[in-house]
Structures are given as C-alpha cells and as structure tokens.
C-alpha cells in the first residue's frame, strides 16, 4: 500500500506536469481525484489495511492527496495564466472602440425640445392646431383687416376651397381659446407657410413657436419676466434682452425682441429673435363672438402672446449658413448635432 501510494504520487505529478490544455487537465483531474479516480479508490482501500498500519498509511494518504490537489491547483493557475497571456498577446488597447452608432435628432427638433422644456418649467402646456386653416382663424380672428397685404395671394398660400396654409402659428392661440376657458398658458410649435421665394434665408415653410398666456391679472411685466427668463435659460445667464416697440395687428402694445448673448456669437449686435405683445382686445372680442360667452371679456382677462421662428434661431445658434440645409437632410450635417 505504501509503495502503491508513493508511485501514485509520482505518476500523478508526472501526468499533471505533462498537461498543456484544459481538456487534458480535466481528464487528469478526473483520473486521480474524480469520483472513480485512482486516489479516491486508494482511499477506499484503507478499509483493508491492517489496523496497526492505518495511522501511518492514513497519514501518507493524506499527504499524497495534498500533494496531488496542490499540484492540480497550481497547474490550473498556470494554465489560466497561459491562456490569458495567449488571449492578450497582440491586443492593442489603442485600437478604436466599437459600438453600434446611434442616429441623430434633427437640430430643429433638438432646439424645439429645449424650448418646450423651458416653458414647461414655467407651467406652459403644449397646444396644436392644423396647418390648413380658415381665413377666419389666420386673419380675421387675429384682427387683420380684410385688405391687409399679408392676406393677398402674393404672400399666402390658398387652397382651391378658400382655406389657406397658416402664415403663423398664432392660429393656435385662437384654436385654444375657442375650446378652453382661461387661465390659458400654452406653447405651440408648428409649421407656418409663406409665399417667399426660397433662398439662403427663406423657406416657404418654416417652424414657429407660439406662446399665449391669458388670465385675469396678466401684465406687461409678466411678458417681460417670462421671455427674459426663457432667453437666459436658453442662451445663458449673460443674455441681454431688449423689447423694442413695434406693431402687430393682434397685440397691443407690441414689441420686437432683440437678444445679445455670448452663445449667439457675442458681439455688440442685437439680434431680432421674436415678436410679442399684450393680446389685443379685438382678438378677445372675436373669440368671444365665436364662443358665445364672456369667458374672454377683455374687461376681465388680459394676456400676452409671443412667437418666433425656430430656423432663424438655430441658424444663429449653430452657425448654419444656409436655411436650406435644414431640409436637405445630409447625414454629414445631421451627424454634427450629437449630444
């Protein structure tokens, strides 16, 4: 038994040393310490060892087992290390990473989302209206007289049935007030259409963002505060906003809004970015006639409205030289707007 254990030890150490890969290692491991392995069987033979010899043989068996398992473990570690070394040989960590490339959102969409988020923080809800509109919603309700130049066929697209493509998103003001009583606080992005010949700064269809706030105690101060906050959120804390008196049929007083900010190329130049004003009482009158109630009685409610073109804003902000790039859909252009 003693000799048998010693030769078992020698053979095992030889076999383990000879192993060079994992399957061979497994075979050797099972051959010696598996359920039917030679060492396991040797252990079972202990029953037949005379009682007196047992302490000595038992001790030897224990030693042999320790030697073999120790050798297996260290061989296993060597094999893992060799395997890892083989796997890593020739690996160059400076090779480029590989990932599935996500696409890009349209820059106008990204900017629009940013704008909407800022107004939502101030408690504005979204609103929508159709692109094909009635003359009443686009002009009459917005206090634009019947012979106003904007209404002629030179400036506005008409459909054969007399409807038109809205020339501004201000129609959404009317659509909203028709169905919703004050207070109203909405932000409405959407397409607008004007009969402009397409060139580097004009598209016949462009994007506007409209806002309206009507309640019992809305003031010109609210208009100022709201738009100042908006532009500072959008362009940064250094943004300066100037309200320049202007004229629009549907607001009074009316202002054009000029902005200066480092984000807009800095400079000393005021950039005209938006139109705004207090809702003209005539607009409330038209809406009231349509609604047949006094929810928008101009003696009780007041409001402000504003609107701006998204393309112009994006052109200045992103340095886009030609407005047509927004509808060209060149992936080399779109892929620059990662985030």
């Amino acid at each position: 038994m003693r000799e048998e254990l010693i030769s078992l030890r020698e053979e095992a150490l030889r076999d383990i040393a000879a192993v060079t890969n994992t399957p061979a290692f497994e075979r050797v491991r099972i051959a010696y310490i598996g359920r039917a392995g030679r060492l396991t069987q040797a252990g079972e033979k202990m029953r037949h060892v005379p009682k007196d010899d047992r302490p000595e043989i038992g001790k030897l068996l224990h030693e042999v087992r320790q030697v073999i398992t120790g050798a297996l473990e260290s061989r296993a570690a060597e094999l893992r290390a060799a395997m890892e070394a083989a796997e890593l040989s020739g690996v160059d960590p400076t090779l480029p990473g590989v990932a599935f490339a996500a696409g890009y959102l349209h820059p106008l969409q990204m900017l629009q989302k940013q704008v909407v988020e800022i107004f939502r923080r101030m408690g504005f809800a979204l609103a929508e209206g159709p692109g094909i509109e009635t003359e009443w919603h686009c002009f009459d309700a917005l206090n634009t007289p019947p012979d106003h130049p904007a209404r002629n066929e030179q400036d506005t697209f008409y459909l054969p049935d007399g409807r038109l493509l809205r020339t501004h998103t201000s129609t959404v003001q009317i659509r909203t007030m028709e169905t919703q009583a004050p207070p109203v606080r909405i932000i409405a992005p959407g397409a607008a259409y004007r009969r402009d010949e397409v060139d580097a700064t004009h598209l016949a269809q462009f994007t506007q963002i409209e806002g309206l706030y009507v309640d019992e105690d809305v003031t010109l101060g609210d208009l100022k505060g709201t738009l100042e906050y908006f532009f500072r959120e959008l362009f940064g804390a250094d943004t300066r906003v100037r309200f320049r008196p202007h004229f629009f049929p549907f607001t009074e007083p009316s202002y054009e809004l000029d902005v200066r900010a480092a984000a807009l190329g800095g400079g000393e130049r005021w950039l005209e970015l938006a139109g705004c004003g207090m809702v003209d009482p005539a607009v409330f009158e038209r809406v009231s006639e349509r609604r047949g109630d006094d929810a928008y009685d101009s003696r009780r409610v007041r409001g402000f409205a504003f609107g701006f073109g998204l393309e112009r804003l994006a052109m200045i902000l992103f340095g886009v030289p030609d407005i047509r790039m927004f509808v060209e859909n060149d992936q080399r252009f779109l892929s620059q707007f990662s985030r």
Binding site: P96, V98, F100, A101, A102, G103, Y104, L105, H106, L108, Q109, K113, M122, G123, F124, A125, L126, A127, E128, P130, G131, P149, E153, F157, Y158, L159, P160, P183, R185, A191, Y193, E197, V198, A204, Q205, D217, T219, L220, G221, D222, K224, G225, T226, E228, F243, R244, P245, H246, E252, P253, Y255, M278, P281, F326, E328, N329, D330, Q331, R332, S335
Partner: protein, 775 residues
C-alpha cells in the same frame, strides 16, 4: 422712409449725435435700419466753369472740355456726360482728390487726349445715391472755391415705419415724434389756409373713393431745373430731381406727407372729374407703362380722358414738361382701400400710393396745397389764382378716446402717476377733454381705443421701466402634451436604432410623387403655388425621404438611415405619419466586424422594436411589400421597387416603411404590471419543420399556437435552411428550426412532460400543414 437730418432740423432741434437720435427713435418703435453720411465733399474738388466743349477725336461718347478752375489757366478735361452746356458751373475734382473710398483722381490721357482732372456727378461726390450726368451748380457759384463750402454735410437715416403710423411718413411727422421722444420743441411754420371757393362745375366728384378734392391754378410758371437746395434735399433721400414744379410736389409730399399732383393745365380738356374708370379705358402712366383700367380703379379725368390714376400715378398726356406754363395743382384725399387695390393690381407702389394706402391726414390737404403754391411761386414764378377750388368735404378724423389710468397701470404692471400719463399724451398732441376722455389729433388715425392710448403711454415712458415679473403655475397636461411626449419616445427609439431625423418640405410636385410611385390624385393642391415643384401638399412622406436618400447617396454616403415624423395631407385631413427609409450597410464596417447590407427584415425589426409586434400581411402586388397593422397604427413596409430606386441613384436595395401615428401618439400609455420572476428552469427543444417555401412562417406559427401544447411559453425561429441545388433538401422546401420554450411556474418540468408536449406540436403541424421533420 429716408430722413435728412438737415431737413428735420427745420422743425425740431436734434440731439448732438445722430446715434443718440437713432437710439431714441428705435426705442420709440421706429427702428433705424440705416444711417449714411452725405455731402462730405472731398478735398481738392472745386467749382469750375465750362469754357468750351468739343468732340473727342477718338471716342464718339466722349467730349474734350476746357474749364476755368479759378487759377486763370484753363484746364483740359475729357468728359463722358452730356447734360451740360458751355458756361455751366460744375464740380471739378483736381488731380490728387480722392472720391468715395479710394478712387484717386490722376492727370492722364483718355483715349489719347490729356485729361487733367474729372468733372463729377452728384453720385460721385456722395451727394446722392443715384444720379446721371454732371452736377450742374447754380450760376452764382464762385469759380475756384472749394465745393465743400457750398454743401452742408448731412446725415440720412433710414427708418422702418410701422403700418399703424402714417403720421411718420413725413419729415414733419418724424420731427413731431422726435420732439415727443427727446422732450424737444416741435415748431412748424404756420401757413395760413388759402381762401377757398366751391369748385362747382370745374371739379366734379362722382365716386365715394374721393370725398374731398382741391385744385389751385397757377399761370405763367417757368419750368426749369430745381435750385440746388431743392435738388440736394430730394437727392439726399433718394429722389431724382425732375423739374422745379414736379420737385416741389415731391418736396411737399416728403415734408408734410400729403401727395400732390401738378397737371399741365393747357393739356386738360375741360374740368376735372373724379370717377371710376370705364372697363377697358386706357391711360399711359408717367413711368411709360400703358394701363388698361378696370371699373374699380379711381381716376382723375378731364372732360375726355383719364389723366391720373387717383393717388397712384399721373398720366403722360397732361404731365408737366419744359414747355408747360400753366399748372393745376391737385391736393386731395382718397380712400385708402381704393388706392391700395389699384396700386396692387398694377404693381405700382409709388410714394403717393404708399401714403394714401396708409391714410393721409385729411386735415392737412389744404395746408399742403398752400405750402406747395408758396414754393412753386418761389422757384418757378407765375401767378396763382386767389382761391383754391374745393369739392366735397374732408373726412372728420378727430375723435375722443377714454382712458382709465388704473387700467393702464394694471395692464402695464407698473406704477405711473396720473400726471405723467397726461404729460405723455399731451406731448403726443392729445388734448384732455372731460373726465378721462382725450381728443385725438387727426394725424393719428391709429388711436381709437383705450388700449391704443396705453400703448402710447408705455411707448414714450419706455418698457424698461416696467418691472419684470416671473410667475409659474402648474399646468395640467393635455392631449398635445401626450402627443409631444410620445413622439419624443419614438424619436429616441429610432435614434437608438441608428436612424437620423430628416425634415422635408410639406410641398411636393406631382412629378416627384409619380417618380416615387405615390398616387398624386389624392394630394391636396395649392391654388397659388410658388411653382409646379411645390404645387401639392405631401400625401405621404415617401417622396421627400427618397429625395433625401438620393441627396446622401449622391454625396457619397453609402449607408442611409433616415426617419421623418410630420404631417401628411389628404382629402381625409391632416395626419401625422412616420416614414423610415434605409439602404446600404446596417452599420459602418469596423476593423473588427464587417457590416451586412440592410434588408427587409432589418427594417421590419426596427418597426417592431419601436411599436411592438405588428400583424404583417404580404401584399398581393408584385415585389416585396406588406401591410402593417396593430391596434394603434397601420402602414406599409416595402422594398422600394428597383425601377423606382434607380431614379434616386440607389446602389443597394432601398427599404421603406410608413405608418400613421395619430392614434398611437394619443393612446394612453399603459401602466407596467410586474410579472413574478420564474423560480424554476425552462426547457428548450428545437424542432426542424420542413415545409414548402410557399407556406409563410406566420401559418406555421399559428399552427403551433393552435396545438395548445401544455407548458409552451415561446416560439422562436432560430434558423431558416434552403438548398437551391436540391442536394440536401428539395429546392421547393425549406427547413425552419424553431426553438420551443416550455416552462411551469411552480415546478421543474420532467423530460416526459416536455416530450409529450413536443409530440402534440409535431402532430398538429403535421396534420394541419403536412410538415415533415428533420432530426
């Protein structure tokens, strides 16, 4: 509107610098969009007199002049202008003078003849924007003196006058505004209204478009070029001098805002009749165009013919020319809408129509006439009839408007004292009447309501005094919020699938739809499109996305993955659609992996990744096309037919999907309810079903589901095998390896249970579809 500051100074003292003035006007709502310096005559330009003029020996268009420049030594100058005569005094730039930015005058030869300087036009000297020929100086200009001594430097501002402020379309109106905004004093020389007499038969008003007309006859005028002061003021603001009488009418138009017209009285046949034109009546306008009039055009006629298009343009037949001696000066008031319609129909926007369209001050008609007569007599001589003939009555534009000062403060959200409100309105020319009522002057037709007065108060007080207020109230979200948010989710999902967002014009042409294989008949048409290219509204997104794909392919992008979300227009209404287009490699090749060309199943996978599984019904059309349908959306998925794709220069197969989104966007987003996680392992078995290729997978899937095998949890298609050679498998057949997953929530399944379930499935597919199985 261009304003000469020198002219403006006649009526109001100006701030020290033009910049301060410009800022005041801009802050007051009249934006200054341009500023130019005029009349800064360069050095070395002197007054010279032309002594002789002869034809240039080598050039038909040039003359050789000898001029006196004050030195006593005649100078020889080659000149191209024709508008002078010997004895005229003209500006002469001596060698060394620099005109404009860097045009240096040198002595030299022109076509072989010595030219020792240059005689100049008003434009070359920066006195006018546009001028032909030499600037002819007055006969008393001192020869040899620097020209700069004769001309005052001037600054010209270009103003953008808003359409509600017709009162600002004159120098005097601007002066009044400047006085209000800068706290200066506005002064107008008082012109006594002329004696008036009813015109009787001499002027007949037969159309409501002209409620008031005045005419003054001046006999014995001498038509000549305007004196320099007059020519200079007109040229400074961009008008070209014509002759003294016409120039005076333009001068008064600019100064007072009242358009005037001078007829050659000798050419009028009978009295003045203001009437609507007869349909088809003809008139040649001053600009030379032949107009065919229509019944709604308002004309000034004599007894025989129309002689002017009322308020728009005069006629050639009775225009003032060099031989005119007697003139009839018209000053009248025309209905804005009539003038606007006629001016627009003929495309004739004149200084006159521009003002009448925006409403001329009816109270200023006679004063302008008197001012013009005074100036004509001064520059052209002659004798005016004592009386101005008038017909009709000027509209009464004065009115009273109520202003509640508290409401003013409430709307503005600022404190402003009653006294200050009153002071502002008074500076604007309003007069306080009874409690809260204000009398509005006739030159401010825009002030008719309380809010108009509030606007004036804050315009003059300045919005910078209004304290900003920022308040936020919670908003309950509505359907538009949901549509917006759900659309954003779609965008993010598509972006994650490697698609970039496109935006195309909503306008399309019938041709582009046909080319894209889209039925154009259903598209909405524009009545007045910008051109055939943009004559329709897009019924689908397909044409635009194909064009976008073509643009990218043509610019060398072989892998195109684009989507667009936006409105489409059909007779049924506006619907938001999502279009997805792709061609070429799914991803970029990398050093590690080569990409595969995208195919039908890639795009189908994208659609399913975004919307979940959709029912797919293969279309009966030729080619590869299928209808997509789920409970919230439907659409199409197709391989774009090759004959269509070639138009767009596609080099690899193109795949396109489009679904309608409205119901999906408006759907209530479901709430997730968590299912318990499995505690016991599942068992998978592969089943290789062999069936004719003609049987779609969806039928096999349905058949497996219909077998109602116990514990079956998932059917997953793992492999499709075909052998075109027919060696290993009949070419008409295919083998589908389907992984079946079985699971029981409460225990581990036994092998027997799974075997039994698989047998059920096999039997069902065999009986129902005639399938065989590969082991």
């Amino acid at each position: 509107m261009k304003v000469s500051l020198e002219w403006l100074k006649d009526f109001v003292p100006l701030p020290e610098s033009a910049d301060v003035l410009a800022a005041a006007l801009t802050d007051g709502g009249t934006e200054v969009i341009g500023q130019e310096e005029r009349g800064n005559i360069p050095d070395k330009v002197v007054v010279a007199q032309i002594l002789s003029s002869e034809q240039h020996p080598n050039a038909d268009r040039l003359s050789v002049c000898r001029v006196e420049d004050g030195s006593g030594q005649p100078r020889q100058i080659v000149c191209g202008a024709k508008n002078y005569k010997v004895g005229d005094k003209v500006p002469l730039a001596l060698p060394g003078a620099v005109l404009g930015k860097d045009f240096k005058i040198k002595a030299g030869k022109l076509r072989g003849v010595v030219s020792d300087g240059m005689m100049c036009s008003a434009k070359e000297l920066g006195l006018a924007e546009d001028a032909e020929g030499l600037l002819i100086l007055p006969p008393d200009a001192p020869v040899g003196h620097l020209l700069g001594e004769l001309f005052q430097p001037d600054t010209v501002l270009e103003l953008e006058v808003t359409p509600n402020r017709p009162d600002l379309l004159s120098i005097q109106g601007i002066a009044r505004e400047v006085a209000t905004l800068t706290h200066a004093k506005f002064h107008v020389p008082t012109i006594s209204d002329p004696t008036i007499a009813p015109a009787g038969e001499r002027v007949q008003l037969r159309d409501g478009g002209c409620p008031f007309y005045s005419a003054r006859l001046i006999r014995g005028v001498r038509i000549a070029p305007s004196p320099p002061w007059l020519a200079a003021r007109l040229t400074a603001v961009g008008l070209r001098p014509i002759n003294n009488v016409v120039d005076i009418t333009n001068y008064v138009l600019l100064e007072m805002g009242q358009p005037l017209h001078a007829f050659d009285y000798g050419k009028l046949e009978g009295g003045i009749v203001v009437r609507s034109a007869r349909d088809g009546e003809k008139m040649q306008a001053l600009d030379g165009s032949d107009l065919t009039l229509r019944a709604y055009d308002l004309v000034i006629a004599d007894g025989v013919k129309p002689v002017a298009l009322a308020g728009v343009v005069g006629g050639v037949a009775t225009s003032v020319t060099e031989i005119t001696t007697d003139i009839l000066l018209e000053s009248a008031w025309f209905e804005p809408t009539r003038v606007r319609r006629t001016a627009r129909e003929f495309g004739l926007q004149t200084d006159s129509s521009y003002r009448f369209e925006r409403r001329v001050n009816p109270a200023g008609v006679l004063a302008a006439s008197a001012r013009a007569v005074e100036l004509i007599l001064q520059v052209a001589g002659g004798d005016a009839e004592n009386q101005t003939l008038v017909a009709g009555v000027a509209p009464e534009d004065a009115r009273e408007v109520f202003l509640d000062n508290d409401r003013c403060r409430q709307l503005l959200g600022m404190e402003i004292a009653n006294d200050e409100i009153s002071a502002i309105l008074e500076r604007l020319g309003l007069v306080a009447s009874d409690s809260g009522l204000w009398i509005v002057p006739p030159f401010r037709p825009d002030l008719t309501r309380e809010v108009d007065l509030i606007e004036e108060v804050i315009r003059v007080a300045g919005i910078q005094r209004v304290p900003s207020r920022l308040r936020a109230f919670p908003a309950s979200s509505g359907i538009a919020d949901r549509r917006h948010d759900r659309a954003e989710i779609l965008r993010e999902k598509l972006r994650g699938q490697g698609f970039s967002e496109a935006r195309n014009s909503h306008f399309v042409s019938a041709e582009s739809l046909n080319r894209a294989g889209v039925e154009a008949a259903q598209a909405m048409t524009i009545r007045n499109p910008l051109g055939a290219e943009q004559a329709l509204l897009r019924p689908t997104l397909q044409a635009g996305l194909l064009a976008a794909l073509a643009h990218n392919v043509r610019h060398g992008t072989s892998s195109v993955r684009l989507f667009e979300m936006g409105p489409t227009f059909t007779k049924e209404g506006e619907r938001v659609a999502l279009g997805i287009i792709t061609t070429g490699a799914v991803t970029k090749d990398t050093w590690k992996t080569a990409s595969e060309l995208t195919d039908f199943y890639d795009l189908k996978g994208v659609v399913e990744a975004v919307f979940g599984t959709m029912a797919v019904t293969p279309s009966s059309d030729a080619g590869l096309s299928a209808c997509l349908e789920s409970s919230l959306t439907h659409g199409i998925l197709q391989r774009v037919p090759r004959e269509v794709a070639v138009f767009y220069d596609a080099k690899t197969p193109v795949f396109y999907a489009e679904v309608l989104l409205d119901r999906w966007l408006e759907a209530e987003p479901g709430v997730v309810r968590v299912k318990p996680l499995a505690k016991f392992p599942s068992v998978e078995r592969d089943l290789a079903v062999v069936l004719p290729t003609s049987i779609p997978f969806v039928e096999i899937e349905h058949s497996l589901q219909a077998a109602k095998a116990a514990h079956l949890q998932e059917i997953f298609l793992k492999d499709v095998y075909r052998d075109a050679s027919g060696e290993k498998l009949d070419a008409a057949l295919r083998s589908l390896t389907i992984t079946l997953t079985f699971r029981e929530a409460t225990r581990t399944l036994t092998a027997d249970e799974v075997d039994c379930a698989v047998a059920t499935l096999r039997d069902h597919v065999k009986t129902e579809l005639g399938a065989t199985f590969r082991e």
